[in-house]
Symmetry: C2
Subunit: 352 residues, 2 copies
Amino acid sequence: MASPDDPAPTRPRPATIWDVAHAAGVSVGTVSKALNGRGQLRAETREAVRTTAARLGFRPNDLAQSLLRKRSFTIGLISTDRYGRFSIPVLEGIEDALEAARISVFLCSASDDPARERQHIDSLLAKRVDGIIVTGRRTDARTAIDLGGASVPVLYAFAQVADPAAPYLLPDDFGGASLAGEHLIGLGRTCIAHVTGPERFEAVRQRRDGLRQALEAHGLAWRRERVLSGSWSEAWGHAAVTKLLARRPGIDAIACGSDQIARGVVDALRERGVRVPDDVAIVGFDNWEIIAAATRPPLTTIDMNLKHLGREAGMRMLAMIDGDIAAGVVRLGCQLVVRESCGAARAGRVAS
Amino acid sequence: MASPDDPAPTRPRPATIWDVAHAAGVSVGTVSKALNGRGQLRAETREAVRTTAARLGFRPNDLAQSLLRKRSFTIGLISTDRYGRFSIPVLEGIEDALEAARISVFLCSASDDPARERQHIDSLLAKRVDGIIVTGRRTDARTAIDLGGASVPVLYAFAQVADPAAPYLLPDDFGGASLAGEHLIGLGRTCIAHVTGPERFEAVRQRRDGLRQALEAHGLAWRRERVLSGSWSEAWGHAAVTKLLARRPGIDAIACGSDQIARGVVDALRERGVRVPDDVAIVGFDNWEIIAAATRPPLTTIDMNLKHLGREAGMRMLAMIDGDIAAGVVRLGCQLVVRESCGAARAGRVAS
DNA sequence: GGCGCAACGGAAAAGGTTTTCCTCTGGGTT
DNA sequence: AACCCAGAGGAAAACCTTTTCCGTTGCGCC
């Protein structure tokens, strides 16, 4: 096991600036200038140093540079839920945005274990990261991470936080659900039900309200008994259909709280001989390709643009590192992705 | 935008060891000794330093430590496929194993773009990572990553590499498929088909051969026409059933190359009134919870123990950092996870 | 009372890089 | 011929921590 006490094994050391200077017969300062295009150097000196450095495979030691610059050019990414379907695109987006600034990402999966989270944060602070992004949605706002007095910018992406002074980015669940509602209404559906996840999730409440707003904006009544809250599973979608059809046979559309739920709903309807979309139109939420595309018919659904959210998070983090201060929530738009479960012409993506 | 040329914005600097020494009225060397339990110090000196350090929120700068130790206590993780279902558990396992050694992980998603991969590797080498783990399966063996002369241990986890001198870890696809076959045979099935992914995947060939071996070991004939290669999708599983039933009505079990395929197969069978598992038993591969558990009936399937594979990768990386040299492939066992699609008593996990 | 030894803690080097400041050389000017 | 200046590159400090090597102090002992 490697532990901080072990010495490094004997391994050919990477070339240092000193090695280059020695080989090229100049001083270390000159090498630095030659390689970085600084100072007053003859062209041939510069060139000689360059070729020597290349020959030796010299690569400046970022650790030393960071020590000097007081910037490590790294950030920490803490994911509080285990990496799942949602964190991945966010993460990709973040990397995308940060790559341009040549910033690397430390990954920490803290899976809701406070002790582990503490340890990760300690480690990140010791490594002098330039910033920390926290991601991973939960039912409720999480507590702000404890920096122990350190002064490092922290951004919450696809995560909610109780601290009003903290900046955080979330998808516009309300708007997304609205979009779904508008789509159904635009297709002539009037008797719309809502099968969704556990009410304790803020996203569930937002989506419910967004849908409601769309309906009411078009003069359609909002009925409590057409809203069924359960779990985030296919099984719940399946079960909900039974309840729904027993209560309300006149339903002509169901807006679902997630694609998984939607798939359960679609399967259940098909089994009962209810045609989708002819008899009942279905719209999902998440655009989780693996589910949405495999459903028969493929799901029209709402995409939260998580990669874009990640990219935005990266950009904002960059700004914060440069001294910007930000606070409060920013909600980023969702998009409707049209497939076949609503019967609309397949028009690709419609901007929100 | 942050760029290497920008100065750090004015932000309260973290306390240094000098600040602590100054505040405590001792020298920096003494502070170091007090905090690290080295040297000969009076107990009260030690205590005084400790409280001062705590008061100032002092946290040793890992960058400076790494410079001195010539070990950065970081590793790079390069994923060549976009982070998907498979990389995540591997990654968790790696983190798990490395956490004990207080090693942090740099995440790089190179999504098969060689230029981007190059840039990532450069960046990792500049940061003096102690090692690099490459993950992300592809159809064929990938080329070894190019370290440009640097001497850093590299391990491939859930990835194949053309270089015979490189160490890599893979799940035992052959053994896993064998396990699936044994299970079906043990339940009395004798006419077993195989619906799987594209033949160009080495995993597909391994699994096919593993299944074959199990059948032949029990004196069952292996028939080419009962093997259907297609894509990794549910749709293919669905389509394959049509072909299969037309050709071979006597089938009493289908071993599938993935859970997605299996789900397509199960759905297709149900639609045709074929009962699962009564008429035909189905076994999947992957144990992708979200698919396997939602299938009706839930899939009996093979788990590749990817988290364990990741943990193993972490352990081996630790050994390599300490000077161990390793080469060649190591295959890690799979497990059978019994649910309901084969009709066996639900006995939980059976070790391989 | 002088000596030696143990206990304690300070000084300084090392690690690799950048940057500022300084020195040296040579050419041009008066 | 003396001087100045620019051009070129070297020396050293700074970043922060650890560790080795010493120096100092106080005590016990002869």
